[in-house]
Symmetry: C2
Subunit: 420 residues, 2 copies
Amino acid sequence: MASRNALYAQSGGVTAVINATAAAVIETARAHRDVIGKLYAGRNGILGALREELFDTNKETRTAIAALRHTPGGAFGSCRYKLKGIEESRAQYQRLIEVFRAHDIGYFFYNGGNDSADTALKVSSIGRELGYPLACIGIPKTVDNDLAVTDCSPGFGSVAKYVAVSTREAAMDVVSMAETSTRVFILEVMGRHAGWIAAAAGLAGEGRDEAPHLILFPEKTFDKADFLERVKACVQRNGYCVVVASEGVRDAKGHFLSEGGTRDAFGHAQLGGLAPRLANMVTGKLGYKHHWAVADYLQRSARHLASQTDLEHAGAVGRVAVELAVAGENAVMPVIERLSDRPYRWRVGKAPLSRIANHEKKLPKSFMRSDGYGITAAARRYLLPLVGGEAWPPFQDGLPRYANLKLELAPQKLPPWKNG
Amino acid sequence: MASRNALYAQSGGVTAVINATAAAVIETARAHRDVIGKLYAGRNGILGALREELFDTNKETRTAIAALRHTPGGAFGSCRYKLKGIEESRAQYQRLIEVFRAHDIGYFFYNGGNDSADTALKVSSIGRELGYPLACIGIPKTVDNDLAVTDCSPGFGSVAKYVAVSTREAAMDVVSMAETSTRVFILEVMGRHAGWIAAAAGLAGEGRDEAPHLILFPEKTFDKADFLERVKACVQRNGYCVVVASEGVRDAKGHFLSEGGTRDAFGHAQLGGLAPRLANMVTGKLGYKHHWAVADYLQRSARHLASQTDLEHAGAVGRVAVELAVAGENAVMPVIERLSDRPYRWRVGKAPLSRIANHEKKLPKSFMRSDGYGITAAARRYLLPLVGGEAWPPFQDGLPRYANLKLELAPQKLPPWKNG
């Protein structure tokens, strides 16, 4: 069998460890030169494929590729660009296949979340329809941990660790100042539809007197009066109250408390600003001095505090993705399978993309405390292994030294893409 | 000479390394039992002294004290409580001396910023006036780096490192998403009156094309039109723009852009909310999608990312403070003296509290780029050594393990304090 080339593309919000997946894909492809010729990486994800802007990863040194393992962000660029249904966007799918054909790309690795699994599945089916032989492998990635089938999503463990550590540290600040200063501290974290990240903050403490005292999940309708009553009771009991709030918290009408009114390319509302809103409620109704923080991109780019377990997951799914392609698989995704909680043991399995595409894994009810403001022992058992281990990047002069790629584009062979 | 007891108190906002100072004070006092009998720590700072709530540090194990070195927050509690002038607050100063007399406290170590240096100086003078022999030693601490005389303030180096690292990491996230998502990212950092912390973000990159592209200093009046023009030019040139804004940014009328209207115990305005305000300007006028983060307490409690240099400074000033007291000094503060930038060499000197009390060290003009939106090579030379070295705390199960003190109060000897 003659070797064919491959394309790797990053999709959607990046994570602290998505580049570790990229490194594993590149290294594993290099180890299978008999099957995979050149590995290209799409510039800004699928957009690079459409525009025929393909980085030639062969131009990168082994050292630079290895350094991706400790480098946050998306090294080749990612994008929020959703291909619609095949009938609606036939021209785009056809263009993709044209580009693949021009560069003899027989393997497509798409590293993203639920939307990306859907896209990979559609690309696979259009390839079949057009008689173009193509293996499409999804690779899991999302800080939101809402991918179906896989036990967890690479990227989540690191944001979970960041949020748990930051909550613990900030709480130590608040408690030492509470008597004459801040009584209520609110940390806003990501998680649009599922409270996985907010739940991770629960690892910072145990029992009702340790921070975080209240977690606001998107899964629970926000009840202002009840929230304020709990904040007050907590301050009266402990002298202070630490709240971790998911950006996805909604009111009884289903509106995001944080909604700013703008929407992204996927039609999702752009969130932010929940923490100041909650803080103003607290001070307005209860009179407590507040402080609030919004971690935003800091939480998902904090490679300096990545979870070693997460890093290992990210590498393993990249490696197995290539191995699945080499073994002739199509329309599948490597998934993390948990074998035991403690000691934590896991392996990489595989699942058809059709079981993952456009599904969303919600936080199980059994993970939320019955009052809806905290996590259960079951959640703790699930979450703890995912934040396990440290994976400090190399530092130089006090700052982390991240990878610097050449990012050389392969010569184009087609006329420019007309978006349509 | 018979030994006398000592009191250590933490004051004002805490830092990632103030407990390292506490550890050094306790350990050095223990090494001088011939001079210093018991070392008490005020519960919630000076309030504990007024209320006769004194933790007996002798009850703490050597291991627990050593663990303070890697523990953020203020282990004994701090407070924002300013003693006014001696004539205005004579009763409070007299009460302090009463408490000192009741516990034979001959040494007072006050660990704080400019306000605290002033308090320590006043306590020293009231002691003399009342014929009570007392050595008052200030110990420098503030994330704001605005203490006079000392080359830098313990606590600053760690927040500087946190802000520089976070800026670098978040920028890598933004650049990889910019084409289809966030164009402008705004990180709000602390620094009410001086732009030291904002300046530290400048270490994240070099040259005008590396993030942060724009730094907003409190030292420069905010000019909305000019700011927006620069954001636009940066996005046109680089595809994205990373802004780091000090909470202390003011408009032409001298109002904080972030002012919420509430004030703390020192009468200072409580700030916050600048980042969303700037972000809305950007999207409203330029149409770019934005993201913003407010680091708030995360930046000053992030012991997991402390600077080793800062940690060493914090320990050294604690040790020298006790040595100065033992040597018979009064109304002085240990200060950091820089001997060379690179290699970084420093030593601990001393300065009279009168030279420090109520002064404020501003960011030198020579540290701000002539356009007012970035830092100079001189700033870089000054700042870089302060973020040098990593000082990871011990982790267990993926989370940092911080000190757990017994915090046993010494028996009270006086009637309760009536605040007045």
